[in-house]
Amino acid sequence: MVEVAIIGAGQTKYGNHEQGLKGMWAESALNAFESVDQNFDPRIIDEAFIGSTAFGGGQLGNTAALMTEHSGMDNIPVRRVENACASSGFAMRDAWLAIKSGQADIVVAGGIEKMNDLSPERKRFWLGVSGDTEWERLAGLTFPGTYALMARRHFHEYGSKHDDLVNISVKNHTHGFLNEYAHLRKQVDFDKAKSGFMVADPLTLYDCCPTSDGASTVILAADHVAKKFTDTPVWVKGSGAASDYLALHDRPSITELIATKKAAEVAYKSSSLTAKNIDLAEVHDCFTIAELLATEDLGFADKGDGGNFASQERGLRNNGDVTINSSGGLKSKGHPLGATGTGQVVEIFKQLRGDVEKGRQVDDAEVGLTHNVGGSGATCAVHIFGRSPND
């Protein structure tokens, strides 16, 4: 079976962009092309999968074709992949599958979102479109609300506290402060993060990720062609994905994401690795409670111990067994919905190759994981990467 490598990866800075969709995608793609060690001509790309929720409706149909025409990837098969905030996590999986199937040798997975060129009211219109519209939305819930319900229930069942969430926020801002691609590059201390104004009780501003513009691009290659482009590829060692009921009330528990657990189970099995082998993980912290749940569901902390994991700073860079969100995560690096999944891969690619900015390197990084969640857990993609291919 063919092994799949990443030979290049790049992104735009996340935040408020002066560029539109086309400009952001072109910049991201160029950064990815230029990250390939040997000269890379985009005309050799066989296929592309581009994640986007098409936020705002600016280019709802044929988004991917518009993107690739502005990055020298003319006339190849492309499509938009949409699974809410997990869109490009699934684009990554589709690209991996395309190479695994033997039908393509070089495939691009990417993502893009333009969120900050809308009026506040129109932005609000779009922020909840990926949740359960018929029941949750009409009960007043968008994602801050659904994650707030999860948080309060976790507090109740396991004794976790809002202070645990504050620690996650502080950690991710610490990590993101040094990341030149991050949206919110600012140090935030505990007292500041604890005193944010309430958004959805018990979640405050500092529990919530920002809305960001951004794009990210990953170039995947089959093992037999990867060596033409680099001596230090990053290998995709495992891929897993799963789904769950869209609405919280249809799930047996709201203190875990079944989609995460199932996706991780498949990814771990396909890579013959476990949570103990992971040196760093980019997890989907759209809200701080989401990171707490992810550390449990991915196996880094025991069930119910995610609060202690956070407060003991076991996910802080080079402070525990695993570094969680070395990029700053969605909280600090930002969350341009469709771009987030492959943006996580960009961070792992750089970390495993030792290419990050000074002070950001995770020591002895051999194996990394990405965890990309759609909405409140209706979809999830997990990937595991390493400096060496599977045996």
Binding site: F125, A139, G140, T142, L149, R153
Partner: protein, 283 residues
């Protein structure tokens, strides 16, 4: 926002029916009755008349009054005042029939109505004072909302109507003894799926209050006036779970483990039509 002016209830007989004083608060309204009829009023007073709370109107009041009446009776059809949405009454289990023995008569100015076989009757309640400016702001917001609601996450009339039995009557599905609510599609023949009405009560398993800025666009005009909106995640007494808005005039602390009763209220407006659903009263 809502100032408690006087605890209920002072009754003054004004003629018509002799009422009995039994549990005057029902589903969030002042409701008193005897065998001959019912008087239902909003708990709020603006000047010398009753005023509707933020998510109430004659339809929600009528449904509660009919529910109260049917605790001891079995009345399925009413002659209805034009202020009442007969479609919502029907989904709630009450048919409109101009020839029906029982009539629902709305007060022309005050937020009150009478269900009677005879003539309009009245009782005087003290209530909770509500600011005129607040009422006007909410009323204006409902009108504005009706013409400016979300372009992003749109619930069509058809989608809303398909689920109205489940949304308002709590109609659920039963398959092999297991209850499902809200209803879903199954790879089963329809003969294998029976319908059952769930009890409109449950227990809070989690809750949140969204600041005005965090509310979905459907609520973005009213939420700032209300100071935010609250949602409860409820385990229903019959087993399934659901999420419900808390009634807009709730003053009780929301706690995990608290009991809730589900009552009909206005949810939001779209295309100039009010959409109704069940909201939670904290017990």
């Amino acid at each position: 926002m809502l100032e408690v002016q006087g605890q209920h209830v002072q009754y003054t007989y004004l003629g018509g029916l002799l009422m009995t004083n039994n549990s005057p608060i029902f589903e969030g309204y002042f409701i008193i009755h005897n065998d001959n009829g019912i008087i239902a009023k909003s708990r709020f007073i603006d000047g010398d008349i009753h005023a509707f709370g933020p998510d109430s109107d004659y339809t929600t009041l009528a449904v509660s009054a009919a529910n109260k009446l049917n605790i001891t009776k079995n009345i399925g059809e009413f002659a209805m005042d034009e202020n009442i949405d007969s479609d919502i009454m029907q989904v709630s289990g009450y048919l409109s029939n101009e020839e029906a023995e029982w009539k629902i008569i709305c007060h022309p100015k005050s937020a009150e109505l009478c269900i009677t076989r005879d003539r309009y009757c009245d009782y005087q309640f003290d209530g909770y004072s509500i600011e005129s400016d607040f009422i006007k702001s909410i009323q204006d917001a409902w009108i504005e909302e009706g013409v400016s609601v979300s372009q992003g996450a749109y619930v069509s009339d058809q989608t809303y109507t398909i689920s109205s039995d489940a949304r308002i009557k709590m109609t659920s599905q039963k398959i092999d003894g297991e209850i499902f609510w809200p209803p879903r599609e199954f790879p089963h023949k329809s003969s294998e799926i029976s319908k059952t009405q769930l009890t409109k009560a449950g227990v809070v398993e989690s809750w949140t209050t969204l600041a005005a800025g965090g509310a979905p666009s459907e609520f973005s005009i009213r939420a700032p006036i209300l100071g935010g909106i609250s949602t409860v995640f409820v385990k229903l007494n019959d087993g399934p779970k659901g999420v419900f808005l808390v009634v807009d005039d709730n003053d009780d602390e929301i706690l995990i483990g608290a009991g809730v009763k589900l009552v009909l209220r206005k949810i939001y407006a779209q295309n100039n039509v009010v959409r109704y659903g069940l909201k939670a009263i904290i017990q």
